[in-house]
């Protein structure tokens, strides 16, 4: 259903909220997984993912016609998760959103092993933790990761390899 709000008029000319809602439903969890992998904390991560979709919504006329708008949103989410100012803004807005789901969503336990794993991943260099987040958390193929990052597939593979080696070294240091 098109947006018809007076204030939303500027967006309404191009946004079909039905299409956007479908896009959101399909790709929100995957985008959220990437941000969770990179940031760790649930509530700000949810906000950061929302910010990425907000950017997509504002530019839906451009985004909707892309071959893979989901990959574009992943890129925006990466940028947002690593931009100090954007992240601050998102964290500041983080709280009200939980109202809507308070009482209606079961607690999501943090498994210690997973928490440790992703905490260690976040100690990797940015280029490495990004490929890990996209490949393993979002379950993107190497080709898709390459598209998101704008680099060759070979670079993604080498970064994944380096990430695994660095991860192993960090784990070894801890023991």
């Amino acid at each position: 259903m098109p947006v018809t709000s007076m204030v939303g008029r500027a967006i309404a000319e191009t946004v079909d909220t039905g299409d956007f809602a479908i896009f959101y439903a399909r790709h929100h969890a995957s985008t959220l997984a990437v941000v969770l992998a990179l940031r760790g904390r649930d509530v700000p991560a949810e906000e950061i993912a929302q910010e990425a979709f907000l950017v997509a919504y504002r530019r839906w006329d451009e985004v909707a016609v892309m071959d893979r708008p989901d990959l574009w949103v992943h890129r925006v989410a990466l940028n947002t998760a690593t931009s100090r100012l954007r992240r601050l803004a998102a964290e500041g807005r983080a709280l009200g959103r939980v109202v809507a789901r308070s009482g209606g969503t079961e607690a999501v336990p943090d498994h210690d092993a997973d928490v440790r794993f992703w905490a260690t991943v976040r100690r990797l260099p940015r280029t490495q933790r990004e490929v890990v987040a996209l490949h393993y958390a979002a379950d993107l193929s190497v080709a898709d990761v390459a598209t998101v990052l704008g680099c060759p597939e070979g670079t993604v593979k080498s970064r994944l390899h380096a990430a695994r080696e660095r991860y192993a070294a960090l784990i070894a240091e801890e023991h």
């Binding site: 007076m6 967006i11 992998a37 990959l71 807005r93 308070s102």
Partner: protein, 594 residues
């Protein structure tokens, strides 16, 4: 096919977790958020005049002043969806065709302005080295501003001196700042430091033994409440005498707290007050409402006070006039009588709509100022009446001054930052404008939406070794953008620099080079970066030779494009760490790069 390993298992587990979290959200939230922001931008454009000035307090020389004028809106104007007024008709940067000319917009623009009841605010430029969202604390008779993330760059604002940039304490991040009578305590991720504002010197001190959630100055000690590891743990409490710089353990709090933005630690002149509770990462609280307790230093004992009637999420409090005042994200407002030890019931409302934002609150004897992102409300404690405020950006981190005013961070959507002073008596204040354009430009440079890949090279000389070009010069104002928003989001924006000195590379003194920076392609950010380039401002760039950015040079990611006010510290994309801190000006950076 590779065998399943930790990476596969952790990825699958995280996707399941994300899927469960995502169930609580839908696209309507995004649509509502888009509408709300657009609405706020529209309504505030008609009321707020923003310019950057540096002085904010009384006693400064008489000058011409540009102020943020924040005027209260009539209640009927409160809903953002009913506020289509815009300053102009179009916004090419966002593709927004604007609303001017539409029947609804015309009607709004010709309507009588809302009544003005009270309240003026004035803006002050953010201190040169501090980014938006920083922390403000009152120390002595000054305001200490600190960057909230990264190395905590710092500056002091005082009525006599205006802004005074400080050397940054050598801490990796800012976790807590407390203002005292003549010193401030800053706790970072790997240490702590005391600031003596009289000498502008930092003294390294040990950090508390756990992450601090909040703290106060009691007149003798800095007292910090520490993070409880789990919901079943109590929060430890520690005190530092700034004369010795040593911590001592105090009695543990009667409940645990773990997040600074859900917790308030306050001092009412005789006791430490703790409001909050423990929240899981999924925001499940340890109690039905925010809890309250009081600590008496003379007996080293806590008293459990009645639980608050406020949400356990995002309840924030302040103390003034013998009462604790508190608000939660639903804009429920409550007061606690510190003498009678009871909450006033029933609770009231600030009148603001429940917000997505964690609220902030500041109180003086005569007023309570509550801000929540782009909106605010002021309670006249004499009349009991609330007045709405609107802002054109996020407003945070309030500090109450002894004279009754409150100071707040103001971060506009385009990244420009300022301080906003709320003055209950509508008095105007002013000061000379200093370096605001360079400061703003430096801040925009620092936030390109793309974080640097790695930590900066250890020293400027190390970076100079890495790059192909190191030159000092001045900005001519010419810019060029390429690569527009593409699938990966990045764009390049080149700034022309008239070269005054060459440290390395193929450039001639007196000639020009165009050095690009990469940004994330956001059109609003791009417009802000290209607009208002401070022509003539001094810069120092470290750049790589490239083929895909205009000019053939691109600044080293995150560290390679410094700008400065005259004799001011390097701003913009400058490295962090010990090898980069404490550089007084661009000449010092230039020397360090050789």
């Amino acid at each position: 096919m590779e065998p399943r390993d930790d990476f596969d298992r952790a990825g699958e587990s995280l996707r399941e977790r994300a899927t469960r979290l995502a169930r609580g959200h839908d696209a309507d939230e995004v649509v509502r958020l888009a509408r709300r922001r657009r609405g706020w931008q529209g309504v505030t454009a008609g009321f707020a005049t923003i310019a950057v000035v540096v002085g904010i307090l009384n006693g400064l020389p008489e000058p011409s002043v540009d102020r943020i004028t924040v005027e209260p809106l009539a209640p009927s104007e409160a809903a953002p969806s009913e506020s289509p007024q815009r300053s102009n008709g179009s916004d090419e940067s966002t593709g927004d065709p604007g609303l001017s000319g539409s029947p609804a917009c015309d009607a709004a623009e010709t309507a009588a302005p809302p009544p003005i009841a009270a309240s003026l605010g004035t803006a002050a430029a953010a201190p040169p080295t501090v980014v938006a969202g920083g922390s403000l604390v009152a120390v002595d008779d000054q305001v200490l501003a600190l960057a909230v993330e990264g190395p905590p760059a710092a500056a002091l604002f005082g009525p006599e001196d205006g802004w005074r940039c400080l050397p940054a304490p050598e801490l990796t991040e800012l976790r807590l700042a407390i203002g005292g009578a003549d010193r401030a305590l800053v706790v970072g991720g790997d240490g702590a430091a005391l600031l003596d504002p009289a000498t502008a010197r930092w003294t390294a001190v040990p950090p508390p033994h756990a992450r601090p959630v909040g703290g106060v100055w009691t007149g003798q000690d800095f007292v910090v409440v520490l993070e409880a590891p789990t919901a079943d743990d109590l929060s430890g409490v520690a005190a530092m005498d700034p004369d010795t710089g040593e911590w001592r353990e105090l009695a543990a709090a009667p409940f645990g707290v773990n997040r600074d933005y859900h917790t308030s630690v306050l001092w009412d002149g005789a006791q430490v007050l703790l409001l909050g509770n423990w929240l899981s990462t999924t925001n499940h609280a340890s109690s039905q409402t925010a809890r309250l307790a009081a600590y008496a230093p003379e007996s080293d004992a806590w008293e459990v006070l009645p639980d608050s009637p406020l949400s356990p999420q995002a309840a924030r409090a302040a103390v003034a006039g013998g009462r604790l005042v508190a608000v939660d994200y639903g804009q429920v407002f409550a007061e606690f009588d510190l003498d009678e030890r009871v909450w006033d019931l029933p609770v009231s409302s600030t009148g603001l709509a429940g917000s997505e934002c964690s609220p902030d609150i500041a109180a003086t004897d005569t007023q309570v100022v509550i801000t929540s992102c782009w909106a605010g409300a002021v309670l006249d404690r004499v009349s009991g009446e609330w007045t709405d405020l609107r802002f054109d950006g996020d407003v945070r981190s309030p500090v109450a001054l002894d004279d009754g005013r409150t100071v707040h961070w103001h971060a506009a959507d385009d990244g420009a930052t300022a301080l906003l002073v709320y003055e209950p008596d509508s008095a105007t204040t002013a000061a000379a404008e200093v370096c605001a354009d360079v400061t703003g430009f430096g801040m925009r440079l620092a936030d390109t939406g793309i974080a640097p890949d790695e930590a900066a090279p250890a020293t400027p000389a190390d970076l100079a070794d890495d790059v192909d070009l190191v030159v000092a010069g001045v900005l001519t104002g010419a810019t060029e953008a390429v690569n527009g928003p593409g699938p990966a989001g990045e764009s390049y924006l080149a700034f022309e620099v008239e070269v005054t000195e060459v440290v390395k590379g193929d450039a001639g003194t007196g000639g020009t080079v165009r050095v690009s920076i990469a940004f994330d392609g956001d059109p609003i950010r791009g417009t802000a970066l290209a607009a208002d380039v401070p022509v003539g401002a001094s810069v120092l760039v470290f750049a790589y030779e490239v083929t895909d950015a205009p000019g053939g040079w691109v600044a080293a990611d995150g560290n390679g494009f410094a700008v400065a006010c005259e004799d001011g510290p390097p701003l913009g994309q400058v490295g962090d760490g010990p090898g980069w801190s404490g550089l007084a000006d661009l000449d010092a950076l230039l020397d360090a790069a050789r």
